[in-house]
Amino acid sequence: MTHLDHLYRVAFHLVKKKDEAEDLVQETYARALGSYEQFTLGTNMKAWLTRILYNHFFDDYHRRRRWVSVEDRAERGEEELDYWGKVAAENPGPESDVLHMELNVKITDALGKIPEEFRVPIILVDMGDFTYAEAAEMLSCPVGTVRSRLSRGRRLLHKHLRGYVGVEDEE
């Protein structure tokens, strides 16, 4: 019963702006209503709506090639982006950061810094509670790709959040 909140969360972390996220969600409902005959009763409506939202995001918010990966770029002989080194340089640690920043603000901010190809699986799997198979279907990519992007995305996110999220939180 919370599809609106779910869709807004996904949209917000995709586009990173409140107004654009609202536009995206509103358009998602309009498109869903316009194509409800394509929805099969008894199937996962949350996944169906999320797929509509993501497709709209992909079509209208950026028209770059889907899933242009670090590996793909490397294969084409282009310079591989040194995300890890960049993150380390940008994130010297809590001592020099805003000390009293709310953790959720910090996580939202950190997510926004992660390249889309790594961010989207985190949004879908960690925030949306989708399985790898569901996320793979939405993103039109293999399940293995979701797994590898998620793994790298989490490592990247963890580096951004160094000092804010650790095993001590669980203890």
Binding site: L4, F12, Q26, Y36, Y132, L150, S151, L161
Partner: protein, 270 residues
Amino acid sequence: MRCEEAQELITALVDKELAGAEKLAVEDHLRACSKCQLIYREEQALKTKVRMVAASMSAPAELRERILSDPRLFPPKAEPQGFWHGLWRPSRSPLQAAFAVGILILLVLPVLYLMQPARQTVGLTALETHGKILARSLSLVKAGSQQEVKEQLVRSVEQRFAPMGYDLSAMNLQAVGGLMQEVKGRKILVTLYEGQSPSLTCYTFLGTEQDAPQGAAVFFDQEKKINFYIFSSGGINGVLHREGALICILVSRMPMSDLLEVARSKARSA
């Protein structure tokens, strides 16, 4: 197993997406490698935190209002709109708002789906109405100009929507009259065009593509990104398409190819 090989498997283990030999292998590795064990626990902690952040974020109240005032989602009908606005007032609890969304998604859409057979009659009704108009068994509001016809029809639906207007002068057809027809409680605006070509009636109403008769052929216009539904009965042809919340059906005895061309040439791109 090397630590580098374990990275992705640890992620999958955290997400409970691992089984069989891979699961056993990474669990063995974790028992023997304190470094990867720490990574596993860190990833678990991170996932927990991200989930907490997600759970704390709700859709803004103004987004709910925007959705409710979107005519594509909620055609301006008095009673349903009041009901929804009542449910969605910002002063209501988030639970009630969530309930309303749930109702929209879980009840309205399936109901619309199940209502298909009843709504499919509108397309066929348009064909029947066209026959009655040609037989002069239905009285029309006559007017001197297309604008007058339009104004009278708009008033008949309390200005909630207007009939789609077509300039068919190139086909030597002029709007000569109209009527407001009620089908199962839905108001349909009908405009009659007459002249030297076969007469044409245009039906405008709030609806969906499901108002096309069952079995109607679908023609997708690549350029305008619109589906056109074509159907016939007793030598009378019909073409239906949607523009936003409005459905337009053109009906005539002219050849289907000509009628479809009229609809395509006048329809606004999606």
